[in-house]
């Protein structure tokens, strides 16, 4: 239950957090958590969560590559995914997916990305989805078929968008890829690069693409990373007015798929039941009413994806 005085406390907490952020910059998010805790504003669990957030923001890899270079890594990861999967050719479904996905991105922390957010359907029954650091997002037919309504598809897309916004892909690049010669090469203007620097950069680029592709397709992210993406998804869809519990409905269906020996997503993602539990926690106290006109969303969802 939220009382007026607790609202006031929250406001003060936010103000303090923002003031500290302004003073220290985002590199000290974990420090902010400590400050808020010391002031008695947030509890230990929240400190832990903020520490996780801080670790991500500080990620040296994502700070080593420019937005443009992250986009280029993303393009190559996308090419390697499209080397393993065929696109599903359906203009109406693809257009709908892009409109919905790009609209969702407007409500994310990063509506504008170097090359924007783009969505493609992969022709596979497997349940899977991938998001590259460049904003290329892929959903298999199998994944899309888990969604029975627009808000459920929105929840899946918002989870992938959150991976992009939070730079999870770049975070999976091994720190050993960044050698001192690469760091110096990255600081050199293009026409002043030596041959050795170009070789070093190309090796790092290639290794980085491999690391991201390997993580997306084979090894998967950590539980904490997936939990962040779920939190981001909940935030995006609820801020637009979709029912934020839509993600739970999708996960419930995913759970039964997993029981029948699911591939892909089941292999690279935490147990859906675990995710449902932490999303339940996130939804505590949130108004679950949907602001969406269900006649409109049902009609356009059916028209676009009915043939899938």
């Amino acid at each position: 239950m939220i009382t007026k005085s607790s609202k006031r406390v929250l406001l003060i907490a936010l103000a303090a957090g923002i003031a500290i952020l302004a003073l220290t910059g985002c590199k000290a998010l974990a420090g902010v958590a400590g400050e808020l805790s010391a002031l008695g504003i947030i509890d230990a669990r929240q400190v832990a969560e903020l520490a996780v957030a801080g670790a991500d923001v500080v990620s040296s890899i994502s700070e080593t590559f420019t937005p443009e270079q992250q986009y280029y890594v993303g393009r190559s990861v996308a090419a390697s995914i499209l080397d393993q999967y065929e696109p599903y050719r359906d203009d109406r479904a693809t257009a709908y997916l892009n409109t919905l996905g790009q609209a969702l991105a407007l409500a994310s922390g990063k509506p504008f990305l170097y090359g924007g957010y783009r969505f493609m359907i992969l022709d596979s029954d497997e349940i899977n989805a991938f998001a590259t650091p460049g904003g290329h997002i892929f959903l298999t037919r199998g994944m899309i078929s888990l969604a029975q309504r627009e808000d459920e598809l929105a929840a899946i897309l918002a989870h992938e968008i959150s991976h992009v916004v939070l730079q999870h892909g770049m975070k999976s690049v091994k720190s050993s890829r960044i050698t001192s010669s690469v760091v110096s090469a990255l600081k050199t203007t293009a026409d002043a690069l030596t041959e050795n620097q170009i070789v070093a950069l190309t090796e790092t680029f290639s290794g980085s693409v491999d690391d991201v592709a390997q993580t997306l397709v084979t090894s998967g992210y950590s539980r904490a990373t997936e939990r962040e993406a779920d939190a981001g998804a909940v935030q995006i869809i609820q801020s637009l007015g979709y029912d934020p519990s839509a993600l739970i409905r999708v996960l419930e269906r995913m759970g039964s798929d997993r029981a029948s020996g699911g591939l892909g997503f089941a292999k690279t993602h935490p147990d859906p039941e675990m995710r449902i539990r932490w999303i339940d926690d996130m939804l505590e106290g949130i108004d679950l009413r949907s602001g969406a006109n269900s006649a409109v969303t049902r009609a356009r969802f059916e028209i676009a994806l009915g043939g899938l």
Binding site: I2, S80, T99, L166, V209, G241, L283
Partner: protein, 207 residues
């Protein structure tokens, strides 16, 4: 404390669909201007408590102050007449262009483009700290925005070169990636898509 409003502010108001001339052909945009958009602020703090940690996760990666001079971090950005996704576009912005922040409202920055008469609004995610874009050298040695743009463009050529080498090494086909990148939608289309279903995107400009 403008960042507080990031998660908790009134959503897009009819009056926030700014700068479009009356009689514009798209009926839905006209509808957006009317009072269909109500302020959904009632549950705002409630949500904020539950989402306190989450909004920090999805907040833009940089925090700026008035006077800061970040650079454009998207391939092609838009300068707008007012803070809002649907505001009129007044000038294009190129990757690497230096801008000076003169006002901050929510997630929107009023900026002046370096060595240019252009002034207007952009979303905070359109720019990044120069350091993250390897543009600091350009600043110390340059006499103006032309040279910082030159550096950014030079970098672009280099990245394409690296991609070409990678492509030939791995025998990868990028044509589908190129095709995918053509799937971009206009922001107007996106806002109309949301509005058709009674959904709203925060304009970010309401204080």
């Amino acid at each position: 404390m403008h960042r507080t409003e990031n998660t908790c502010r009134p959503v897009l108001l009819a009056s926030e669909v700014i700068g479009r001339e009356k009689g514009h052909g798209v009926r839905n945009l006209d509808a957006l201007r009317r009072d269909e958009y109500t302020i959904r602020g009632g549950h705002c703090m409630h949500k904020s408590i539950a989402l306190l940690t989450f909004f920090l996760l999805l907040s833009p990666a940089f925090s700026f102050e008035v006077g800061d001079e970040p650079a454009v971090s998207v391939r092609s950005g838009d300068l707008r007449s007012s803070p809002g996704f649907l505001a009129n576009i007044t000038a294009p912005l190129d990757y690497g262009e230096s801008v000076e922040i003169i006002e901050i409202r929510g997630d929107w920055l009023r900026i002046r483009v370096a060595n240019s008469p252009d002034e207007g609004w952009l979303h905070i995610s359109v720019v990044a700290e120069k350091e993250s874009m390897r543009l600091e050298q350009a600043d110390s040695s340059s006499t103006g925005s032309a040279s910082s743009r030159e550096i950014a463009l030079a970098g672009r050529g280099f990245n394409e070169k690296v991609e070409a080498q990678y492509k030939s090494q791995k025998d990868l086909d990028f044509s589908l990636v190129d095709e995918m990148e053509e799937y971009g939608r206009s922001i107007e289309e996106l806002v109309i898509f949301l509005a058709d279903a009674g959904l709203t995107v925060e304009a970010g400009s309401v204080e």
